[in-house]
């Protein structure tokens, strides 16, 4: 039994009939957390979040309460919710946005109250059209209900929430790129220091940027107390975590589980969770935390899905996206596809990332096509070393943001774990796995 009886926190309304409506939300404790928060001082709300030790759920895993505490005292202060979920194989925020938009709004409001924000922006990935519509409808309902706007629930506290659509750029998930985008510019990450958002954020004002799942926890934390949240989980990893499981498992999906209580083996093989590798195949490789994370071999199955344990084993929990691949999968093809992604999504500011990602993709493509050379493996590692010296984890950084050092995670660890497979492509002059070809956009004329 690997699934503990921990309560569902962020997904408890998912699956309810019309879970995205105010009516459904109010029937299931909706806006009670905000009402309670408004009877407390902002400092008291902040204290509860500190007690909860709520780690940011966007990828970096920084304590939300500490982040809020770093906010420069200033007027104005902005709160921006990062709903630009684009890390490949991550699909948890998409679900939270579409299925429970009021929870997102309530969480954002509690956060705004605690940090004394002057305005809230919900940055929603542009491709989430239904999500944008659901959040916009929910916001209209919340206004009519008195939960947003002037004198919220008669407390005297007023704030406005703006739903802001993205326009299609992975890099805007990086918080400073997101702020540039929110200012109507290209999504170019800013140099840190000095541009830590808590010091110099939106329009140069102190800004808190929190992930959707992070703030979705706040209504529960406020209502039940930080201690109740901290009673769940292990070590630094408290509460529950929403894990996005995709790839070669029988039961892909989002699973909210008590944090730091399950291993990869549990998640993949428990009949209540992944249900095993599909088609009766054998597990070969795990991408443990989104495609920016170094790969794990099958020897890592007993690593716990906790930020600390995954980091101790040389990768990262990242966004909570877990993608297992089975023994029929070509690791060259998988690494090629991920390198192609980074090449397409590099914003182009920094040479190591812009040029490096392109060269990695080209070399990977030629290996997969059977035209590689044995020296290509050293060449790939050399390019990776140019992007992130030492090709280690946590990675050294030569670029403004962490997109650059994420490029080697698939390719370099692919070579380290599956060197023979890379060499087989080169020596046989073809991919040994069906389908033994990759298709490139625009390369086929029909």
């Amino acid at each position: 039994m690997t699934v503990t009886d921990a309560p569902k926190i962020v997904t408890r309304r998912i699956g309810l009939e019309r879970s995205w409506t105010l009516e459904s939300y109010l029937a299931n404790d909706g806006y009670k957390g905000l009402r309670k928060a408004l009877t407390m001082t902002p400092e008291q709300v902040h204290d509860q979040v500190n007690t909860a030790n709520l780690l940011g759920r966007g990828g970096a895993g920084f304590e939300a309460g500490r982040k809020w505490g770093m906010l420069a005292k200033s007027d104005p202060v902005y709160l921006v919710i990062n709903g630009d979920e684009s890390e490949p194989a991550t699909f948890k925020d998409h679900m939270l946005i579409e299925e429970d938009p009021h929870q997102l709004i309530e969480g954002a409001l509690i956060c705004a109250y605690a940090v004394r924000a002057d305005q809230v922006f919900l940055f929603i990935r542009g491709e989430f059209a239904l999500g944008l519509e659901r959040v916009s409808s929910a916001l209209n309902e919340a206004y009519a209900h008195g939960a947003v706007g002037r004198d919220i629930f008669g407390s005297g506290w007023s704030i406005d929430v703006v739903v802001h659509p993205g326009a299609g750029a992975y890099i805007c998930g990086e918080e400073t790129a997101l702020l540039e985008s929110l200012e109507g510019k290209r999504g170019f990450p800013r140099i840190k220091p000095p541009f830590f958002p808590a010091a110099i954020g939106l329009y140069g004002a102190p800004t808190i940027v929190n992930n959707v799942e992070t703030v979705a926890n706040l209504p529960w934390v406020t209502l039940e107390g930080g201690d109740a949240f901290a009673a769940l989980g292990e070590g630094r990893s408290k509460g529950t975590k929403l894990l996005a499981l995709s790839g070669d498992v029988v039961r892909p999906g989002n699973y909210e589980l008590e944090f730091a209580k399950v291993t990869f083996r549990d998640l993949l093989f428990d009949p209540q969770l992944g249900g095993g590798i599909r088609d009766g195949n054998d597990l070969k490789c795990i991408i443990p935390g989104g495609v920016s994370a170094p790969w794990f071999g099958t020897d890592m199955l007993d690593v716990t899905l906790a930020n600390e344990d995954i980091a101790a084993h040389g990768s990262m929990a990242g966004s909570g996206a877990v993608t297992p691949m089975d023994h029929t999968r070509c690791m060259v093809r998988a690494a090629w596809r991920i390198s192609r992604f980074f090449h397409r999504e590099s914003c182009g500011q920094c040479t190591p990332c812009r040029e490096g990602s392109g060269w990695v993709e080209k070399i990977m493509e030629r290996i997969e096509h059977g035209a590689g050379r044995e020296s290509d493996l050293d060449l790939l590692m050399d390019v990776c070393d140019g992007i992130s010296p030492g090709v280690a984890w946590p990675p050294a950084q030569t670029t403004i943001c962490v997109l650059g050092p994420s490029i080697p995670s698939s390719v370099a660890w692919g070579i380290r774990l599956f060197r023979d497979e890379f060499l087989a492509h080169i020596r046989q002059g073809r991919c040994p796995f069906p389908p033994d070809r990759i298709r490139i956009a625009g390369s086929v004329s029909v």
């Binding site: 019309r18 007027d75 309902e141 109507g184 290209r186 039961r251 389908p435 298709r439």
Partner: protein
């Protein structure tokens, strides 16, 4: 077709009013332009620039960065097939190949009848229902070749008008109420336009009933 219609210009001014700094409304305005014309026209971008105080070059600088914005005409339906890792593991490239054959165009191409533009997309965040695709940014999950054909047939027959609005239409829900961009905190250099003191922007709540793809989630058996 080019500049925003008077009605859309009014919507644009309301959007601008939501932000402390006008330029922040640029991307929402570009979405509005794309909703009006299906793509971003040169005159439209110039008009958006006038409304937020930017040159056309600055507007293009922003527009050209983002995948969702098209500065050339596209088909009535933009079909984006995700081929990133989770979908690839579930047959996305085979699906894309089928889509190319069915539509007769390669990714980036538009069919001769102007109905379809095909795209090879990055992760669309529906990985629990891989492979997935979007049509005008409306999601379809667990798509096999037969389902792809049905979707195309239904689009051509006009059976999916509710689920799939015209290309460029992102958000059919207009904001019904709102505060003026927090006046005390707005940067005075670039104030947004005012929203009436009663907070009423426009009517037209449009709660959505439809959910195109049932999603596997917590506790649900496969």
């Amino acid at each position: 077709m080019a500049r925003l219609t008077p009605e859309n210009e009014q919507r644009a001014r309301q959007l601008i009013a939501l932000y402390p700094v006008r330029r922040s409304a640029l991307i929402p305005l570009l979405h509005l332009l794309q909703e009006q014309d299906g793509y971003l026209t040169a005159d439209g971008m110039a008009h958006a620039g006038q409304l937020v105080g930017l040159t056309t070059a600055e507007v293009r600088g922003t527009a050209s960065f983002y995948d969702m914005f098209h500065t050339e005409p596209v088909g009535r339906y933009v079909v984006a097939v995700c081929t990133n890792i989770a979908c690839m593991l579930s047959g996305a490239y085979e699906l894309l190949e089928h889509a190319e054959e069915r539509l007769g165009v390669a990714p980036g191409g538009t069919t001769a009848d102007g109905n379809f533009t095909l795209e090879d997309a990055e992760c669309l965040a529906l990985c629990g229902n891989a492979p997935c695709l979007t049509v005008n940014w409306r999601f379809f999950g667990d798509v096999d070749t037969a389902r792809f054909d049905r979707i195309v047939d239904d689009l051509v027959a006009g059976n999916l008008v509710e689920q799939v609005p015209a290309h460029g239409t992102l958000n059919r829900v207009q904001r019904s109420v709102g505060l003026q961009a927090s006046g005390a905190t707005a940067h005075p250099a670039s104030p947004g336009g005012a929203i009436p003191a009663d907070g009423i922007l426009a009517a037209g709540d449009h709660p959505l009933e439809e959910r195109p793809t049932p999603r596997r989630s917590v506790g649900e058996t496969a």
